[in-house]
Amino acid sequence: MGERILIVGAGQAGMQIAVSLRDAEFDGTITMIGEEAHGPYQRPPLSKAFLAGESDEESLELRSPAFYVENNIVVITDERVVDVRWDAAHGTAITNTGREVAFDKLALTTGADARPMDVEGVDLDGVLYLRGLADAKALKSRWDAAANVVVIGGGFIGLEVAAVARKNGKTTTIVHRSERLMSRVVSPTTSKFFKEAHERRGTTVLLNTQVSRFVGGGGKVTGVELADGTVIPADIVMIGIGVIPRGDLAAKLGLELKNDSIVVDEFARTSNARIVAAGDAVVMPHPLTGEGQVALESVQNAVDQAKVAASTLMGVDHEYKAVPWFWSDQDTMKLQMAGISTGYDETVLRGNPDEEKFSVIYYRDGRLIAIDSVNEVLDYMAVRKALGAGQTIPSDTASDTSVKLKDMVQD
């Protein structure tokens, strides 16, 4: 019998590890266990095309059910791994149904949960989170009947849901705690642009605003009460205030954690050499500079890091080097980001935010580190490519829109 690899978490990263193992001609047993009712599927459309009714459940599937059969990948859904036992030679995972699965090597791709909000009324019907397909269906089933949608949290998911709501003609309000939107990842220029762009479309954006409770009647939410006592009518409240990485199982296994995230090295190895981890559940060295510890909640990272993890499981050290990138679709605005802007000391604005077509380019010590583009695909692609090749674009000319960014790239 060949080697047995167990993947806990049947999401984007877990699926990719399984596929990459087979691509590398791993001929042992692959078992993937996931606690959701579905096999691996795409989350990004949940707050975009799926919510807008432009894509169905089947089109969310990352692979068809037949694919797993043909590739001899066992996918167990609707079960949660609750514990792992180690013997001298191998490990055994135990699920909530009592099933035991023996393995030689383990991959943790447990993702993250939506960060819960602890305020009065959070259990009312119509107060929802959006992490998985079950959440998205709950949201959709209430969508058509809802006239008033309130989004708590001005991050990507909240803004995307707000954009769909407004487009569907709903009275839409975004309540955000801090002083600017998406403040963790984008520059003040980009934040300000998105606030104004959502307002232009008729959405109310409240910054520096705290929720004191959700009010309701007959078990259903009817409004959101703010700290100053104002009540905003609501048929649906969507809470999007970030995530909590799923490090619970890793903690049980005694792995090194940072807050709730599993700590991995550039080979996606945890503090136990027999266990790899990838995706939303981990913190890793910066994939371009190797410095510090970063968490990247993105499809790109889940996929690329999973490939590295698969390689490590095959005994081949393949250092994680990739340009982080991300996108967010908000009505007609396509935000695309490449690189990690954290720690920037200079930004250059290229194009005109008033035309909803511009880029913000980030520099540190005079070197290009990242870009946010809105409806400026060429800029975004040029920077993504330059970063991948270790190149830069001079900051003193980057704002000149008469020259393509890709023609300014230099070593």
């Binding site: 037949a66 499809v299 060429l378 692609m381 890709k406």
Partner: protein
Amino acid sequence: MPNVTYIQPDGKEVTIEARDGDSVMETAVRNGVKGIIAECGGACACATCHVFVDEAFMGKVGEPGPLEDDMLDGSAEERNACSRLSCQIKMNADLDGLRVRIASEQV
């Protein structure tokens, strides 16, 4: 249901029956056709689903839209007149028999 044939970067040809309305990308990825990565899942945001459409079908498939056109400018393998992002081509009866060659470099 319409058929689509993929020529993988390894030279192998794979023919798949597509769901009407599914994109050429979705049909490939869900069925494990090799070479189309499609990290963004069809949002026209990644350019990792680059294909070269068989010339005979170019008329029916049509030219890329403006956004797709810009994305193709940054594709890993140099584009040509038959380049398309496969997530932007929806399958229908009219495209039955479509042939596409998958770009050998996507990232």
